[in-house]
């Protein structure tokens, strides 16, 4: 159900559209950046319902959000997704929903979207690599979809899978991690009103490099938990295998809640740096649960979050 969540970020925190569009034009004029490397937003706006509130943060620009991405299916460079994700066909698109649900099946994207209310959700994004952004996502609560397909009582976890198309995803030709990309959430995390399936940003359809046409956004966890370009959702009883956890369990835990007290073995997680601050951008302290502790800390009551990192 839309409207369960109240963001502490305000619509006024978002860079106004004319401002970022202007910035884009300036960049285009500057030349180098404009050589077709950044897809402009499509003409159609999504007219997402504005949710507003709180203050203190400012969204990153369209260019920042769409030119600095981790989407290893298109390459490991930060600019690879913006260059190559355009090769992914996102229409038609369907999600295979199965496992412990009452109404399993292949759900077309149009079908999934026909009864949901798209909302603007301005969320902080914290990457495990220590960079951060604020993104004005457009989406709906994952709980809406899970309610619709009917989660059976025995289900305890939700498993997700990204599309795997070697002919459209040049990055998967090399085994950086085990493909397809897999992620998972505990059912209560998946049902939490902060957890959304996003189909756009800045009120525009989702750019491919950001996970078109539909992706998860879980704002209190490191970015890689927010799986992109989803083709499969499975409700399961046991904790499902997840891509980075399988690659290196001591570095990437199943929970992966943003936690300044639990360092990544190869770097500290105490600080982060906002993307877009230039050469002399300051690091700022990282907040536990990425600042969403009030909303989500109770999910982990009694759990040791260092052990269950």
């Amino acid at each position: 159900m839309a409207g369960r969540y109240k963001s502490d970020l305000n619509w006024s925190d978002v860079t106004p559209k004319d401002v970022w569009l202007n910035r884009r034009k300036l960049m285009a004029g500057a030349g180098a950046m404009a050589l077709g490397s950044i897809a402009g937003p499509a003409a159609a706006s999504l007219n997402a319902r504005k949710t507003a509130y709180g203050e203190g943060l400012e969204s990153n620009t369209w260019d920042e959000i769409t030119s600095y991405n981790n989407f290893y299916e298109f390459g490991t460079g930060k600019d690879d997704p913006s260059r190559y994700a355009g090769e992914l066909t996102t229409d038609p698109w369907a999600i295979e929903i199965g496992g412990l649900v009452d109404r399993p099946g292949s759900y077309g994207l149009d079908d999934i979207l026909k009864d949901v209310t798209l909302e603007e959700r301005i969320y902080r994004l914290r990457c495990v690599e220590r960079w951060a952004m604020v993104v004005p996502w457009v989406g709906f609560e994952l709980a809406d979809l899970l309610d619709r397909v009917g989660v059976q009582p025995s289900a305890k976890y939700v498993a997700f899978e990204t599309a795997l198309r070697p002919e459209e995803m040049r990055g998967v030709r090399f085994p950086v991690i085990e493909w397809p990309y897999k992620e998972g959430l505990r059912l209560d995390e998946a049902m939490h009103p902060l957890t959304i399936l996003a189909t756009g940003l800045y009120d525009e359809p989702m750019p491919n490099q950001n996970g078109a046409p539909i992706r998860v956004v879980v704002p209190w966890k490191y970015g890689y938990k927010s799986i992109k370009s989803i083709v499969k959702i499975t409700l399961v009883e046991e904790q499902p295998p997840t891509a980075w956890n399988e690659y290196s369990a001591h570095e990437y835990g199943f929970y992966s809640n943003v936690n300044p007290d639990r360092d990544h073995p190869r770097w500290s997680q105490k600080y982060e740096r906002r993307v877009g601050g230039g050469l002399f951008a300051k690091q700022t302290p990282t907040a536990k649960f990425n600042g969403y502790g009030e909303e989500v800390a109770h999910l982990y009551a009694g759990m040791d979050l260092i052990v269950n990192h």
Partner: protein, 214 residues
């Protein structure tokens, strides 16, 4: 080393080699130092003007680190290139080495000043993070090499001790490659290509028959 046909080389190749070597002979080491300033200046300009993307600090750090590895490889390649082709860069090798040190220093400074920023974090990283420990180790081993890369030190140490000291380059280059492999996320090809090239170049230094490092 005089120009002479290597096994398998014809006279035409010898004349090419001779011409190349004559051209190299015309390049003063100072020219290498002057040219070496250009890439970091270019990177800095790119970083400052958004040409390295929206997160220029990491990009600059990475560019400088990779550049250092490349020049390190060039330095290491001088001898095998001479052995196999007769082309002789030995005269410029010391300049390559000093330039490598300069790039590693810049890489380190970007990490210290722009990236990590906090002194307590810097120290914590050096002692707690193996890939940073390895990188710092490589840098530390380069300091005596940089300090003795001058004729006075060569004379004072004598050529045998000087050369023995400068064999530290071998662990330095190996640590540099390992540093790159260790800091990558996921299984990526590029760091392993560097490691492979470096291992191959190091292998040319081993006198396999006597089983000792030359």
């Amino acid at each position: 080393m005089p120009d002479r046909p290597l096994p398998g080389q014809g006279l035409a190749q010898v004349s090419v080699v001779r011409r190349v070597n004559r051209a190299i002979g015309l390049v003063p080491p100072l020219a290498i130092y002057v040219l070496a300033v250009l890439p970091p200046v270019l990177f800095l300009w790119q970083a400052q003007t958004g040409r390295l993307g929206v997160e220029p600090i990491k990009a600059l750090e990475h560019e400088l680190g990779e550049l250092a590895l490349q020049v390190l490889i060039a330095t290491l390649a001088v001898r095998p290139v001479n052995k196999w082709t007769g082309i002789n860069f030995l005269k410029l090798r010391r300049a390559f080495g000093v330039v490598t040190f300069f790039y590693v220093l810049l890489h380190l400074l970007v990490w210290l000043v722009l990236d990590v920023q906090f002194l307590d974090q810097i120290w914590a990283d050096i002692v707690k993070r193996p890939y940073i420990t390895v990188g710092m180790g490589a840098f530390a081993l380069m300091i005596p090499l940089a300090l003795t890369s001058n004729n006075l030190s060569l004379r004072k140490l004598g050529p045998i001790r000087w050369r023995r000291l400068h064999r530290l380059m071998y662990p330095v280059v190996l640590l540099g490659a390992i540093h790159f492999v260790m800091l990558s996320k996921g299984f990526q090809l590029e760091p392993y290509v560097y490691l492979g090239v470096i291992l191959a170049l190091l292998a040319t230094r081993v006198r396999w028959a006597e089983w000792r490092v030359a």
